[in-house]
Amino acid sequence: MDDLNVKNQPALKQFVPTPPRPPRKSEKGIFGTIRHRCFNSIGNSLLTLCVATVLFYLVKHVLDWAVFNAVFIADNRRQCMDISPDGACWAGVISWFNGLIYGRFPVDEQWRVNIGVLLGLVWLLPLMSKRIALRNFILLSWIGLYPFVGGYLFLGGRFGEELGLVHGAMTCLALAFLAIIYANWILSALGKKGLNELFVPLVSRLVERRIHLLSFVAVWLLVALVIASGLSQVSLEPVPIERWGGLFLTFIIAGFAITMAIPVGVILALGRRSKLPVIHWLSMTVIELVRSVPLITVLFMAVTLLPIFLPADMEFNKLTQVLVAVCLFAGAYMAENIRGGLQAIPKGQYEAAATLGLGYLHTMVLIILPQALRMMIPNIMTSFISLLKDTTLVSIIGLFDIMLMARNIANDKDWVGMHTEPLVMISVLFFILCYSMSQYSLNLEKRLKVDR
């Protein structure tokens, strides 16, 4: 009605803002910008010149060392020195490249590492597609099932013997799940029903409730059986954990920490926000204690105290101890991020959930946590980046991650004393990984802001 009235009245004079004046000619264009912002005063001009000179010499020296005077092909360090005394000797890094990536994993078996890592990525690929329903389950299955596949591939052994039947069964279930995800993805692209609906007609005759779930379970078990019969024919050569190393081990530790951080963090954060005093105080104690000590002491604790505090007949390898420590550490830090998210959720959300009659678990899982986690994505990504960087600490307690492999090059008789090049190379590697992660998180942050 208001609109109508306005239209009937004599037209009001519309407010027309004066258009902004165009920039002065001297400030236009690329030269104008440079002049206006770099040379607008004497002090600023001097500053610009100084910075430019320093930058020029810095870049020139780095390029000279790393590219123009560098040696890429040589048999040992002496030869490098003979060819070019003041350039980088990348030949050493190149000859150790395999070791930096795979550690001391047997060369003939390295394809298993490649396949395992690739499988992990392939598993997550469907998350990109908007077509697939229940994408959270893919993520959950990755957290819960992928480690079995990875463990099977990386450790090897005859199927179901060295690693036990449970591990074998879980591996088959995991692979079956992956197969179903992909079958469903393809089928949905073709406009057909998913594979899990295969048994719906049959199941619906037998039972009345949970038809779809049962049908899915039936298909899942069937596919798993097929895979099990295939895998039981295969025997992989066993690789002991002590031979894992390099970037591969770094990724395993970081990946484990990153995936375990969220569940552990959610439990600790909810515990800390709980109104039950026992649970509140327990969670708070764990979080605060772990957060106030350095990671290296937690690692030392895991390595020295776990064998003392657990039964004598339990055998531990160093990697398991480290994973326990890193998991606790990552969880405690993540808990504080998630708590921040939980605190930012308006009280109305809790009240609305209570009004709908949702219990605690439903309120949290369906209403609160999805919002809290989404809100905290930038902080969570920052935590992930620092976790990735912190994995280098395991080299101090003697795990052969990429850091220790790189330091080891200097002990090789051919490349004695070569410290700089390996360190520079892994620095660049970490920089690329961490920087791209942080750029991705910025990108995500922007996208999520648009959503709102």
């Binding site: 515990g271 026992v278 957060r291 002491t297 039964p311 330091r407 892994i426 620095s427």
Partner: protein, 410 residues
């Protein structure tokens, strides 16, 4: 876990009338009642935790028995018998493990303190440079931060140690600044002052002079604010202060001689010594910390409303004035909490110096002493206790300060 405000409304017993037997009814009503459910759940959790602790301790005592070890802190009185390459408090191999613990603590604190002070200064400057109008400067600051914070600290520490500090010339070919400062692959030798006066008095008098000067300016400020010039009382006070300070310096310089490091045989004697591992750890950690602090400072500055910049510009403040009087006082409020965390992180990060053999707490106590005594539980307990104490202390102090600078709201 149940939150009483959000969980299901409790069912009254009358609603369960249709249930088969009265015992079941009683139980379901107990489980559906918020209060009783909370008690039951907490009891279960508590029992699990207690059982877990009992399990761990039972194992520990069994394992210790089996290995013929005992638990106790009596080992702290035992002679350590190993040397520590650098310590600020007097130490020699004949001293006890308790002394080793103290040496580790002092070295850790010194390293973190230096890192925190210098890192905060550099970080603040870089953070402000990142907001510079000059694109060259702001981009340089940006890439400094990006490169430094995306490379793991441990790599940087080892880089500085093996690539920079270990490749410095041998003691005979030291870089030197006159005869006062020598830098070589062992570390830095600096000239110090030997004095017959007690250092406690010197520091006390120095502090008293500084406080007196501050008090003088503070006292004359109201007059200065109103009139724009200093009162004559201020000048008299200043003259007295200068006389006192002059007397102090004169006395000090007469009772003090320089201790100059000089090369004797293969090593330097005299002066003070900072090992290369300290230098490498200090430089790497300072650079790393400064990048983190620069980000904090930038975020804090950017959180200020743009109108504040413009208002300061409008009333004719120079850039430095607007920073000092308008922007920084407001930014401080949002900078302090993350800055606190950064300082805590610096203290914890100092433990990474173990990788290059700097004798800090983890290195001397958690590695060397633990290997020698085998008292893993006690030693880890003590080291963690120290870090927890420091963390709680710093966060307590800064929370206090933080409360005092926040906006006063109802």
């Amino acid at each position: 876990m149940i939150q009483s405000s959000t969980s299901k409304p409790s069912k009254s017993p009358s609603k369960g009338a249709g249930l088969p037997s009265s015992t079941t009814q009683k139980w379901t009503s107990l489980l559906n009642n918020d209060a009783s459910r909370a008690v039951i759940l907490q009891a279960i959790v508590l029992m699990l935790v207690l059982f877990g602790l009992w399990f761990l301790f039972a194992n520990a005592s069994e394992n210790l028995n089996r290995l013929g070890m005992t638990f106790g802190f009596d080992f702290l009185q035992v002679t350590a018998g190993f040397n520590i390459s650098w310590s600020l408090i007097p130490y020699d191999a004949g001293m006890s493990y308790w002394r080793v613990f103290l040496v580790g603590i002092v070295n850790t604190l010194i390293l973190s303190f230096c890192v925190i002070v210098v890192g905060t200064l550099i970080g603040t400057v870089v953070g402000i440079l990142r907001l510079s109008d000059n694109p060259l400067v702001s981009q340089l600051a940006r890439w400094y931060v990006e490169v430094v914070r995306n490379v793991p600290l441990l790599i940087q520490i080892i880089f500085w140690f093996t690539v920079v500090f270990s490749t410095l010339p041998a003691p005979r070919q030291s870089y030197h600044l006159g005869e006062w400062l020598f830098l070589n692959n062992r570390g830095l030798y600096v000239t110090t002052m030997d004095t017959s006066l007690s250092w406690g008095w010197i520091i006390a008098i120095g502090l008293a002079l500084i406080v007196a000067l501050y008090a003088l300016f503070r006292w004359s400020k109201p007059y200065y604010t109103v009139s724009g010039s200093r009162s004559s009382g201020f000048y008299i006070g200043l003259a007295v202060w200068v006389l006192l300070a002059g007397w102090a310096v004169w006395t000090f310089s007469h009772a003090t001689s320089l201790s100059v490091p000089s090369l004797q045989g293969f090593n330097f004697s005299g002066g003070a010594f900072l090992p290369a591992s300290f230098g490498a750890a200090f430089v790497a950690m300072t650079v790393y910390r400064s990048a983190a602090i620069a980000e904090t400072v930038r975020a804090g500055m950017q959180s200020i409303d743009r109108g504040q910049h413009e208002a300061a510009f409008t009333i004719g403040f120079s850039r430095v004035q607007s920073l000092r009087l308008i922007l920084i006082p407001q930014a401080i409020r949002s900078i302090i909490p993350p800055m606190t965390n950064s300082w805590l992180a610096a203290t914890k990060d100092s433990s990474l110096a173990v990788a290059i053999g700097f004798p800090e707490l983890v290195s001397v106590f958690m590695q060397t002493s633990m290997n020698q005594t085998g008292r893993a539980i006690e030693i880890i307990f003590m080291v963690m206790g120290f870090y927890i104490f420091i963390s709680l202390l710093i966060s307590y102090l800064l929370n206090k300060y933080n409360d005092s600078v926040q906006y006063k709201v109802r």
